[in-house]
């Protein structure tokens, strides 16, 4: 038999190795899953993980999907480090799209170079406002930010649907529940010509760099880490929990809001009820896969985007169910959390009393 023995300090090698181990295990599990579905597993895995890398357009699409994932996950990771669980990023994403998109619709048909920056600011503020609700209720009334932020996802989705059915509906749209297509100046400029990859990805890169500096170089970032790892120590040191909760929610809310605006003003180009497609939830997986570290999140976001693109190709070519991608992503998070144990524990063979005379004495069970 084996048992787990705690390590004196977290193993750094394992810290970096477990995400790769988790990906490897997911591929093995995927192999079995495809086999069970009666599809050729090798071909499916090739389509998901390798094919997109060989095709220029798919690489550009990867950047499209990675943009919201990296933006949101970067914000979430800061909170997760502090033990502040904002799991409602999907809602903040939706509200950011609404507020940012409303600026474009209000200005319609006018444009100008200032329009897009204004929309981005409005999106960030919208996301922050939505994130302020759980932050306020947690700091003022002690209400669980997990449940409040999650409930607000449903409210935000319904609000978007309500608005595109009413106030924001395209007046010339034959009563379809959609807003107008945004005017030219309200579209996020392309990063690579003739693809959907947009400059939002550069903003995501900037967010990654800023988060790195914040966590590694600034005092408040340090406080965030201490609160997460040793809440009592943080209290003794006099760090304000309230302030940290607020900071985490404001950062993650702003980034999720901007991500929502980029989605509306980028690949989608208007407000539609189906705008929130789950990036806010997938970003949670991205944050963990990236070890809650900004640079790690960048790579994890790209990998997750790869599974989206490859998953779509596999769905079309092999007529796989559309839920395959989310099953893959769910499994990945499971394996990651499971292998995480190796960071803080090592696996040891249970010592047998007679076999190890000189080794550690077998632990006695407490008397009953």
């Amino acid at each position: 038999m084996f048992r787990l023995v705690p390590r004196k300090e977290p193993n750094r090698a394992m810290l970096y190795a477990t995400p790769f181990l988790a990906v490897a295990l997911t591929i093995v599990a995927g192999f079995l899953l495809f086999g069970a579905l009666g599809k050729d597993p090798l071909h499916a895995l090739f389509l998901i993980f390798l094919k997109p890398l060989t095709d220029f357009n798919s690489l550009a699409e990867m950047l499209v999907k990675a943009t919201p994932l990296v933006l949101i996950a970067t914000g979430l990771a800061i909170g997760f480090r502090a033990g502040v669980w904002n799991i409602g990023a999907e809602g903040q994403f939706t509200i950011g799209a609404i507020t940012g998109g409303s600026v474009a619709l209000a200005a319609y048909p006018d444009g100008g170079p200032l329009l897009l920056p204004l929309m981005a600011v409005a999106g960030a503020l919208g996301g922050m406002a939505w994130a302020a609700i759980p932050a306020f209720l947690r700091t003022r009334f002690n209400a669980s930010e997990i449940l409040v932020s999650l409930m607000l996802v449903y409210v935000a989705t319904l609000l978007l649907s309500f608005l595109v059915h009413g106030a924001l509906r395209d007046p010339e749209g034959f009563n379809f529940p959609e807003s107008r297509l945004f005017q030219e100046d309200a579209h996020v400029p392309a990063l690579i010509p003739d693809t959907r990859a947009h400059i939002g990805f550069l903003v995501a890169l900037f967010a990654v760099a800023a988060a790195y500096v914040y966590l590694e170089r600034l005092i408040l970032g340090f406080q965030v880490k201490v609160l997460g790892q040793a809440p009592r120590a943080a209290r003794f040191a006099g760090y304000s929990e309230k302030r940290i909760v607020w900071t985490c929610f404001m950062i993650s809310g702003a980034l999720a809001g901007v991500a929502g605006l980029f989605e509306a003003a980028g690949p989608v180009g208007q407000l539609v009820p189906s705008l929130p497609v789950g990036y806010g939830f997938t970003a949670i997986i991205v944050a963990f896969l990236g070890r809650l570290h900004p640079v790690g999140i960048l790579f994890a976001g790209l990998l997750m985007a790869l599974t989206y693109i490859g998953g779509e190709t596999a769905q079309i070519e092999m007529s796989l169910p559309s839920a395959t991608t989310s099953v893959f992503q769910g499994m990945l998070l499971f394996f990651l959390l499971a292998t995480d144990v190796l960071v803080n524990f090592r696996v040891a063979r249970t010592a047998k009393p007679l076999a190890t005379p000189s080794g550690a004495a077998p632990k006695l069970k407490p008397a009953e």
Partner: protein
């Protein structure tokens, strides 16, 4: 009178899945484990129950498979958090994300199929009593089971030795371990009971409430059930009351037009979620009381040092 009766019958149907899910989670939390994956276990229960009923033609098989599927998901959660000592919040989220994906994958073959109306109990004479009859003696069997579960859990937690041990594990796992109780095994059982209950709640959704399979049909009910446990201050009877309160809010939105309210459908659909937030705020406001009510070891990782 008919409208009132219809509303009340609707409340029961809306509340029952919440009763199942919250009473199960309550037991798991009493043992000190915070399983945020209720939504995931519920949706897997829903799809498994539906598939098994369609496949076997028997509701009983379907319900059992639903409960079993929920328990299996909970076992997975237990393996991660209890054996591998992973973070309970993160694993609960993972369980929900995984459950939503897997249920969609399984359910794809079953979309568009519908089941006949789930049978209601019919006791001659008693069920024929006007108003009271259909309400008290004419529900489906699962409704009675949900009430029995609440009573059973209440009795188990407060009146039996095993219940006392379960609570001890949740209040102070070090001490319980020191006395010699198998903390991890007890928690596995509690978590799997919670999973089975969530699976039953899901089965109720897909067999009785709609009765067909729709992707993401749990629509946040698992999360509402989690909030109900807090609302109930970890007391079974209060969880039952809370579930019926939420059932009432859900039905209010369906009948609002008949009652002459002119509010948009989307705004009305927000009600249960907004109500959850309000309820959480009201109940959590008193920090001291929350601390006293919540199991002390809730969400904490246990490692047996000796």
């Amino acid at each position: 009178m008919d409208l009132v009766l219809n509303i009340l019958l609707g409340v029961v149907v809306a509340a029952t899945p919440l009763v199942f899910a919250s009473i199960g989670e309550l037991v798991a939390e009493k043992s000190g484990v915070l399983n945020l994956g209720v939504e995931g276990m519920m949706i897997i229960g829903a799809v498994a129950a539906f598939a098994a009923t369609v496949g076997s033609g028997s509701y009983i098989v379907g319900i059992l498979v639903g409960a079993l599927a929920g328990a299996t998901m909970a076992f997975l959660f237990g393996a991660l958090t209890l054996t591998l000592m992973s973070n309970q919040v993160a694993c609960g989220l993972a369980l929900t994300l995984f459950g939503l994906g897997l249920s969609a994958l399984i359910g794809q073959a079953y979309s568009g199929i519908s089941l006949p109306q789930f049978p209601r109990v019919d006791i001659p004479l008693l069920t024929d009593i006007p108003f009271i009859g259909p309400l008290v003696f004419g529900q489906d069997a699962l409704v009675y089971l949900s009430f029995a579960l609440v009573a059973g859990v209440g009795w188990f937690l407060t009146r039996t030795r095993a219940g006392l041990i379960l609570r001890a594990v949740g209040e102070n796992h070090e001490a319980a371990h020191g006395i010699g109780y198998p903390v991890v095994a007890i928690r596995y059982l509690a978590v799997m009971f919670g999973g089975a209950c969530a699976g039953l709640g899901g089965a109720y959704l897909s067999l009785v409430q709609t009765p067909l399979w729709v992707e993401k049909m749990s629509a946040g009910r698992g999360w509402i059930a989690l909030a109900l446990v807090v609302f109930a201050s970890w007391r079974p009877l209060r969880a039952l009351g809370g579930a019926y309160l939420f059932g009432g809010i859900t039905i209010l939105q369906l009948h609002s037009q008949a009652l002459g309210l002119k509010i948009d459908a989307q705004i009305l659909s927000m009600l249960p979620y907004l109500a959850t937030i309000v309820v959480l705020v009201v109940i959590s406001r008193d920090r001291m009381k929350m601390k006293l009510n919540a199991p002390s070891c809730l969400g904490k990782v246990f490692y047996a040092t000796s």
